[in-house]
């Protein structure tokens, strides 16, 4: 995990790269301005106009790249959140959220689909960035497998964590210090922390327990 200061231009290039790595990326291409507006704005006060303005700025920037508007501005990003952004793109999580908002399932207010997407994504990223280590780890694992498992069981989740058989962890890189990853072996799934993390993610409105088949599904805010 590390922190970078990158320009908006560099963020856009990086996002283009993530789009290129995503199968069936038409939604991401269509809503690129909204997604970038979600990554670069602050809509905490429910400021829909601000989201609208940021989308317009990004639409202009995408059409006619300019140093004056957004090109030379800098943003602070962390590797772990960039990894999450990439996973959300490639696993189809952002696609699912776009569909959800497009169907009018987001907020009680009358806002355009574009604004809804920007604000819903901003809410998702703002909630995820505040997650504690283990909550983040579980959510990241679940998001990585979203395309195949939009609903999953605890056992499935445990099977995604690294083990001797498959030591790769999608959380781990050379700069990530993890208490549970010792010599490539993750001991996280042997602790009660995993269930605590699932409960915590439910409490934070990110996951939804599905009682009939003991599965968890992703929850998007209404």
């Amino acid at each position: 995990m590390a922190e970078y200061y990158i320009s908006y231009r560099e963020l856009e290039k990086l996002f283009d790269q993530y789009i290129a790595e995503t199968p069936n990326n038409s939604q991401l291409l269509e809503h690129k301005a909204e997604i970038l507006a979600a990554l670069t704005g602050d809509y905490e006060q429910g400021n829909w106009d601000s989201a609208n303005e940021m989308i317009s700025l990004w639409e202009n920037q995408i059409d006619k790249p300019s140093q004056l508007l957004l090109g030379s501005r800098y943003i602070r990003v962390q590797q772990i959140m960039l990894d999450f952004l990439k996973v959300s793109c490639t696993s189809g999580l952002i696609d699912a959220l776009i569909v959800y908002v497009s169907q009018g399932s987001f907020t009680g207010f009358t806002v355009s689909v574009g604004t809804g997407i920007a604000v819903a994504l901003w809410e998702l990223f703002t909630t995820v960035k505040k997650l504690d280590d283990w909550d983040f780890c579980v959510y990241m694992q679940a998001a990585t497998h979203f395309r195949e498992y939009s609903e999953f069981t605890i056992d499935e989740l445990k099977s995604w964590l690294p083990s001797v058989a498959h030591p790769d962890c999608n959380m781990h890189n050379s700069t990530w210090h993890c208490d549970y990853l010792v010599a490539g072996n993750c001991t996280f799934n042997q602790t009660p922390k995993i269930e605590e993390a699932l409960k915590s993610l439910y409490g934070k409105g990110l996951l939804l327990p599905i009682k009939e088949n003991l599965k968890y599904g992703f929850k998007f805010k209404k």
């Binding site: 995990m1 922190e3 970078y4 703002t126 960035k129 700069t175």
Partner: protein
């Protein structure tokens, strides 16, 4: 009158007058020991209350205990045995000022005189105190712990208090504080104490913000010739000029007005507001983390700052206090800081990641009128009030400190990853590949920095470079450490940047005055307008050097 009784007790040493039923009699010298402190402190406080604060003979002990609780706590906190030397008729500059501005206009009588208590960390007799023997005088002076003014008020009874924190803090680990040496006089004798001013608010003329201002201004006036000492009425007068309603009785000050008042007294203050700090969706660093970094840079620079705390959600009244130091490194936070290291985006595969030492500290030393003098508390809970967080930081900067902390941090970050002047270019032979580097950012006076480096650097050519290079009065310094050397504060390099240019012009390498990497020092003279060094000095055997320690005093 009780006043007369007290006077007669002082005049005729053989005829001590009892106060109420207790055997305690007021005297100039009072010795507090482990054996007598419970009873003695209680009697002492009761006598002060009845003779100097509130002359009602029928006040119950419970009521007295409540009013004198803070004095009682202070007296019990001091290391025993110790001696209190009392000055019964003391004219306290700030209380006398508020007396004539406010209390003298009141219908019910308020006394004019304060009392002052001097504390010595030994058993002291009258003979020893007034001795002419120089050695004995020195012994007495060496054991001077400080002094405390007792005002004749039921609220705000503790007035100007100057106590050396070494005697009062019971610490598990070291703290680092900014103090000033104050000279105090009693009965024809002079004593010095390293302290930071503390006083309680009287809730009528001074609230927490005014008290913070008065303490800060007194510290600066005592430490630097650029500032003069002020009395409460001058603060109120300035406050009135910028406020839209009356200022007496005081209802507190908002921080924008507080910084305006600071500027009226010769400062060029900066006001940092929590909600004005940028938020980023893709970073876990919060606005609070960033505000704390900013606070830490100033505290590490030895610049006491005023903190404004508000309840989370901004419902309810706020509070104000002064922050003067920080605690020791928290291992848990070091771990967290290592995960938030800065990496150059352009050179992320090869650069040396930077770990910000400002993230290592959880505890800060505050002077808060709601708490006993010198409190070491975590940043998240600086106040005794629950759910309060730091919302504003007012930094009283010197008029020519143009470059503020956040801009200095941005410049340093950019220089350290610069393709011409960065660590990656100049320290590659010294550091391992992609080795983490800890940075320590602070401001220092160039005079003091040069003196410190002259005394602590080993290489003669390195000393010469530091001494010769022209520097403005204040500079920002960023020391560089290997992870294993930070605890001992042994740096392997540093960069010095100009604090007298603003961010726009000084962005990146144009601010550099000196860079010191292993075996090389580069210096730039004031005429050099392009980012190039006028002299590059190669050093042989350039070892690790001492981290700068003159901004704060270590208290163990």
């Amino acid at each position: 009158m009780v006043e007369t009784k007290k006077q007669s007790a002082l005049d005729s040493s053989g005829n001590k007058l009892p106060i109420d039923k207790s055997d305690y009699e007021e005297e100039i010298f009072t010795i507090i020991t482990d054996e007598n402190y419970e009873e003695m402190v209680s009697d002492f406080c009761e006598a002060i209350f009845k003779n100097s604060v509130f002359e009602a003979s029928n006040t119950s002990n419970d009521v007295i205990d409540t009013y004198m609780l803070d004095v009682n706590k202070l007296l019990k906190q001091l290391p025993r045995p110790y001696t209190i030397v009392q000055e019964f008729y003391h004219i306290d500059r700030s209380f006398r000022d508020t007396y004539y501005t406010y209390f003298s206009n009141q219908h019910f009588q308020v006394k004019r005189y304060s009392r002052r208590l001097f504390f010595f960390a030994i058993k002291l007799s009258e003979k020893e105190f007034f001795t002419q023997d120089e050695e004995e005088q020195e012994r007495v002076a060496d054991h001077f712990m400080g002094a405390c003014v007792i005002n004749p008020l039921t609220t705000g009874v503790i007035g100007r208090t100057l106590i050396n924190p070494r005697y009062i803090l019971n610490l598990k680990s070291s703290v680092y504080m900014r103090l000033s040496q104050f000279e105090l006089n009693i009965y024809g004798k002079k004593f010095n104490v390293d302290a930071f001013p503390y006083r309680m608010q009287d809730e009528e003329t001074m609230r927490c913000a005014e008290v913070s201002l008065l303490n800060l201004l007194e510290y600066y006036a005592n430490s630097y010739h650029d500032y003069r000492s002020v009395v409460p009425s001058e603060i109120l007068e300035n406050e009135k000029r910028h406020s839209h309603e009356r200022v007496l009785p005081s209802r507190g000050i908002s921080y924008p007005i507080l910084t305006k008042v600071l500027s009226e007294f010769g400062f060029s203050p900066r006001l940092y507001n929590l909600s004005s700090i940028d938020k980023y969706s893709l970073s876990q660093i919060t606005q609070e983390d960033e505000l704390k970094r900013c606070l830490h840079y100033y505290i590490e620079s030895g610049i006491p700052v005023a903190l404004n705390l508000l309840p989370i959600g901004n419902n309810g009244s706020g509070h104000s206090m002064v922050c003067i130091g920080h605690g020791s490194v928290s291992k848990e936070l070091v771990k967290k800081a290592r995960r938030n290291k800065w990496i150059s985006w352009d050179n992320k595969e090869h650069c040396h990641p930077l770990i910000n030492s400002a993230d290592f500290y959880e505890d800060y030393v505050v002077v808060d009128d709601n708490q006993p003098v010198y409190q070491v508390r975590p940043f998240q809970h600086l106040s005794l009030y629950p759910d309060m967080r730091v919302e504003n930081i007012a930094v009283p900067l010197y008029k020519r400190m143009f470059l503020d902390a956040s801009d200095a941090a941005a410049i340093v970050r950019s220089i350290l990853h610069h393709k011409q002047f960065g660590i990656d270019v100049w320290s590659d032979n010294f550091l391992n590949e992609k080795e983490d580097v800890i940075i320590r950012l602070f401001m220092a006076s160039s005079r003091s920095l040069k003196n410190f480096r002259l005394n602590t650097l080993e290489n003669i050519y390195a000393k010469e470079a530091y001494v010769i290079v022209p520097m403005p009065r204040f500079v920002w310094v960023c020391e560089l450490y290997r992870v294993e050397n930070y605890e001992d504060l042994k740096a392997f390099g540093e960069i010095v940047i100009d604090a007298t240019s603003a961010f726009g012009r000084g962005h990146s390498a144009c601010s550099l005055i000196l860079m010191h990497y292993p075996n090389v020092i580069g210096i730039r003279y004031p005429e050099q307008t392009t980012p190039e060094f006028d002299e590059m000095i190669e050093l042989e055997n350039d070892g690790l050097f001492e981290g700068y320690r003159k901004n704060l005093q270590k208290i163990t």
